[in-house]
Amino acid sequence: MGAAQRSRRWLVPVSAVALVAGVGTLGPVVADASPKLPDISAQELLAKVQTAKVDGLSGTVHSSADLGLPALPGVTGGSDSASGTVTEMLSGEHTARVAFAAPDKARVSVLDNMAERVWTTDGKSAWAYDSGKREAVKLQLPEHKSSGKPEKKAPQSYNPQDVAKQFLDAIDPTTKVDVSGTEKVAGRDAYKLRLTPKTDKTTVGSVTLAVDSKTWIPLQVSVLPRTGTDPAVEIGFTDVSFAVPSASTFAFTPPKGVEVTQPKAPTTRPDVPKGLPSKPEAKPENGKKPGTANEPTVLGEGWSSVVMVRGVKLTGNGGPVDQFLAGAQTVEGSWGKGKIVTSKMVNALITDDGRVFAGLVTPQTLQDAAAKAPR
């Protein structure tokens, strides 16, 4: 056995590295190869999507968000506050199990690291459960009411169907819509419906919906920034079944040793249970910065909408936010003076008089909005 022959043995581990790396990186790509589907126009696809209806579904949803948000010290919060939850959902990766049965049964379980948060409703009552704190919150829902809407709030951000619909509602001349191809999502063949903003005021490059070719349910939404090729937000099913889940799926029996709190029954609209993953107005397309003190005002429309919040006391106390802002760029205009906080998708302008402008828009658009905004 010569030296050359012996050194050839090292080809085995080298091939093993190549194989493992190959399977790890290319495996998903090969598995998600574009399926062959009959051509369809964007309009047809849109129509199908809007009429899509399922009696029930269950599956696993994976979301990953990389908005390029700076890690705001002290603002990241826990899951205690809704704002903390939203911030959390807008960063990193999350997995949730979702189930839905028409008309009003729904369940969302966010699979946290060694913990789980559950929201479930069987149409009569709604439960929120946090395994970390072992606390359950029960809501008795008002009867004789098409109660489907409020309870579905919870799964909304996890349900690509709802997210997609919100985009579809916003479709107007500001947006170019086309079918950009096909792909496999959650093992199903899907069309890719692409929405591209026509304005260059927004930081959104495009939004793509993967629409199931059989049920016409959106299976995945991805938002691409104007710059770069990696999605800033991607939320979609990793597996999905359109069988109607059994009623027991939505039932919740408070376990022994778990503290149950029962807020007063809501009259018209139930309080959003503690720790809800997100509220609709916190959608990235609305560009709202969460955790603000005042009622926000939306300025402008479409892709270049800017949210304004007044009377925000963020600065002046020498806290971590101050330190953070100290590093931000200072801008000045007819509207006054302030700091611009930029990220991959979300930009914000914090003026010295306590107004915050934020949106999925360019910094210049923020300044223009500030100039036009009422004081």
Partner: protein, 314 residues
């Protein structure tokens, strides 16, 4: 897998060059006859152990070939090595285990070894090397001599066609050395070929039928002991107080390679008649205290071959 012909151990051009460029073994051609007790001689560091490691497939030769029991090494090692008992470079054991537990482990490593007879064979092997009483003792508590015996016991766990023993008497007391030599003779009588390295000439003189000499990585000589002995030419040795005069006289009488050590003058008398020298010395008035021919020892012969001293102390 029977080979009735050929040598159990053959090397051809066996060479090992270490990474530093140092040549430890340089083109060694060994041929060990079947049934022989083959003494592999050489001073420490002459390449004996490196050769043995290559023979057993522990290290890969830089070039050259090894044939063990008629099959190429290391390619056929799994077929060949079960029939070869080996002791390489000192005893190595698990100190936290008993002697017998060590034997059982090494036997278990050989997939041809029958597990049903393993304990019996271990007992027999321990008895042969005289370790029965210490079988249950932890090897940690063994003396070097006991470890050496245990190592030989490993080689004796099975019927072997060839034993490759590297310094088998190292660390043994005179009694143990004698026992090992007897064991080697006994095994050889049973037909096992024995290849034993040593730096002790006495061992070779007493038990070997063949010998090879290594020096600085090279094989200087290999032949049967009978042949070696016959080649050793007797030397004329004169003991006298008149060394200078004696040397001059012998030189004039045609004796070559003269050397004077103390009161002794010796030289190579070649084919010349010995009585002629005696007469010549007497005629020259040299006082003679002793006179005769002496056959040199193997040691002297090997010193002459290798140019290095052997460690003869025991």
């Amino acid at each position: 897998m029977t080979e009735t012909t050929g040598s159990p151990l053959v090397t051809r051009g066996l060479t090992k060059r270490f990474r530093g460029g140092q040549v430890a073994v340089d083109a060694v051609d060994l041929e060990v006859p079947a049934g022989s007790v083959f003494g592999f001689l050489g001073p420490n560091g002459s390449g004996k152990t490196t050769t043995i490691r290559m023979v057993l497939g522990l290290i890969a030769p830089t070039s050259g070939e090894v044939e063990l029991l008629g099959q190429p090494m290391p390619k056929a090692q799994l077929q060949v090595l079960p029939r070869v008992g080996a002791l390489v470079e000192g005893p190595a054991f698990y100190p936290f285990w008993s002697g017998v537990a060590n034997l059982l482990r090494f036997d278990a490593a050989d997939r041809t070894a029958d597990p049903r007879t393993r304990k019996v064979r271990a007992g027999e092997a321990l008895e042969r090397v005289g370790l029965s009483n210490a079988a249950g003792k932890k090897v940690r508590a063994y003396s070097l001599g006991m470890k050496q015996r245990l190592a030989i016991a490993v080689a004796l766990m099975q019927r072997r066609d060839l034993l490759v023993l590297d310094e088998p008497t190292n660390g043994l007391d005179p009694q143990g050395t004698r026992e090992v030599r007897n064991l080697i003779r006994e095994l050889a009588d049973d037909g096992t070929t024995i290849f034993t390295s040593t730096h002790l000439l006495a061992e070779v003189e007493q038990v070997c039928t063949h010998a090879a000499v290594m020096s600085r990585g090279r094989l200087i000589r290999q032949s049967s002991m009978a042949e070696l002995r016959s080649e050793l030419r007797p030397r004329l040795v004169v003991r006298t107080p008149d060394v200078t005069k004696a040397a001059e006289t012998l030189k004039s009488l045609g004796v070559t390679d003269l050397r004077t050590v103390g009161e002794t003058v010796e030289g190579d008398a070649g084919e010349l008649p010995i009585d002629k020298f005696a007469a010549g010395l007497v005629a020259a008035d040299v006082r003679i205290h002793g006179f005769g021919l002496e056959r040199p020892s193997l040691e002297e012969a090997f010193v002459a071959l290798t140019g290095e001293g052997f460690d003869v102390a025991e």
